[in-house]
């Protein structure tokens, strides 16, 4: 089993290398509008442009620049922020926890609502509750997150005054609720749909008929034989959604002025802070890959066919 896990980890290496290459290429090889001028009219003065060129080493040959970029990366050095003059790793570290907190809360909401919803819908196919939950699901997938956030903010913060309208506050739960729900609705919808499809698949499986032939109550059939098999199917969706949620969080973080990686990324884009932009994207992607690898490993533990296969 450790060997299998090691192999899964090894599989991500080429992807990581490719990601680093893309991030480097995007911002270091074709930085045109980035160092010269923004088209919003904010022309950078010559001094700033010169400083950026130097720090980026734009005058060195390409492979040298890539080499030193990778060498620094390997040592955990993401460069120095143009804006704050601090190491990018430090800037990112400050934003990581709020981002993680938001992502975990949103995913928690998505799982706690979406999985039971899909389960109930699948157990009563064609019923009113099935229809209702699928309407909720397809609507949730079609809602722009930031608009949902805006509406939640208007209703629960500005009109009813139950919750704070934006910001991180003291880091407590009250500030977390609205952004987490706004971010969690679309993975919730997706989970409801995949769970429903997964459970319906399992309910039609032969071994469920066997379970019924044993004289089990429907409750036990579901508890003993459906849940685990369906969860294996749902796990992929959970992993993919969880992994990409930090990226999706950008708009929600911006809307709620949440001090996470997403707002850091957007702010850095506007401030032309290339090392911070590169670093934030890299961390968001690494988070995605890490979660996916964890899901792969979870599979190995849950599914004996892979464990011994």
């Amino acid at each position: 089993m450790p060997l299998l896990i090691l192999r899964r980890l090894g599989n991500t290496v080429p992807t990581i290398v490719a990601v680093v290459l893309v991030i480097f290429t995007l911002f270091s090889v074709i930085p045109g509008s980035f160092t010269s001028a923004g088209d919003d009219g904010r022309v950078l003065d010559a001094q700033v442009a010169e400083r950026m060129r130097k720090e980026l080493g734009l005058d060195d040959p390409l492979h040298v620049r890539f080499g030193s970029y990778v060498a620094n990366l390997v040592q955990g050095d993401l460069g120095t922020s143009f804006r704050t003059r601090e190491p990018v790793t430090k800037v990112i570290a400050q934003r990581l926890w709020p981002s993680l907190k938001l992502t975990i809360a949103a995913m928690g909401f998505a799982i706690l609502v979406g999985v039971p919803l899909g389960f109930i819908a699948a157990l009563r196919p064609g019923s009113l509750i099935d229809m209702a939950s699928m309407v909720v699901a397809i609507s949730g997938l079609s809602l722009p997150k930031f608009w949902l956030g805006l509406m939640l903010m208007y209703l629960f913060a500005l009109t009813l005054g139950w919750l704070p309208s934006f910001g991180y506050g003291d880091g407590g739960l009250r500030h977390l609720i609205l952004p987490a729900v706004a971010l969690g609705v679309s993975p919730m919808a997706l989970l409801a749909r995949t769970t429903r499809a997964g459970v319906l698949d399992v309910l039609n499986a032969d071994f469920v008929r066997t379970a019924r032939s044993k004289g089990m109550s429907e409750y036990r059939v579901v508890r003993w034989h459906v849940v685990r098999n369906a969860l294996v199917l749902v796990l992929t969706t959970i992993g993919l959604q969880f992994g990409s949620l930090m990226g999706q969080a950008v708009v929600v973080e911006k809307l709620f002025s949440w001090p996470g990686l997403g707002s850091l990324l957007v702010d850095s884009v506007f401030q032309r802070d290339i090392p911070t932009v590169q670093g934030s994207i890299l961390v968001i992607v690494l988070f995605f890959l890490a979660i996916n690898t964890l899901v792969d490993i979870a599979y190995v533990i849950i599914d004996p066919r892979i464990r011994y296969g």
Partner: protein, 273 residues
Amino acid sequence: MKLRANLLIGGALVTVAVVVGVLAPWIAHTDPVLDANLMNAEIPPGSEFLFGTDGQGRDIYSRIVYGAQISLTVGIISQIANSIIGVTLGLTAGYWGGWWDDFVGLVTNLMLAIPSLIFALAIMAILGPGLTSLLIALGLTNWSYSCRITRAQVLSLKSQGYVQAARILGYGDFRIMFTQLLPNMIGPIIVIATLGMGAAILAEASLSFLGLGIRPPFPSWGSMLSEARDQITTAPWLSVFPGLAIFLTVLGLNLLGDGLRDILDPQSRERRA
């Protein structure tokens, strides 16, 4: 019965959006950009202005009508680009196999690893805001699904008799790919493109909301929301209507995609994600 409801509601919503977008110059009351009139600022929805006016006195209804053009243009063109890239890569990778397949697989994994919104955001940051940049950013970053599915379909079709026969008849590779294989997988590709259109419209709105897509004063639904955010306490209707427009259009595309999938791609249950 549910199948028909999907298609019916989805088709109706999409048709409305398309008709509104096409007829915008005729059904809009005012010019969406130029007709600012501070005398009319922040009038709530009513008989004179159906959806109210914004802080500069522009008619929200007219701006939403024109916004449909931007959303649909972005959705359609970016999905055509994505489909062409994804299908071409998927066809060739599945058909030729070998190192090319490995390479396409690596690139596809890479595209899947970078959240598409982040990827598009990075490209927008480099190219700067604007419709052209948006089309490039969204047209280049969301082809991995159509690529994967095309490849999978090619692998299952490749060994079938008629493909073998075409090969024996001496058809060229591209001729086999585009005349023998492609017509047999057009269903799933259309489904993915339809769903992708909804995703692209959402992405455009998100980027414009962040100030990286269509910039004010042009009436993208996303940029309208970006402006509306600051006035949400005084003029909440500014936030309601553009958001509803995005929601209903994307909902229509998603329902239509689901309905089409039931018809065109019946054995796709496991891909339903």
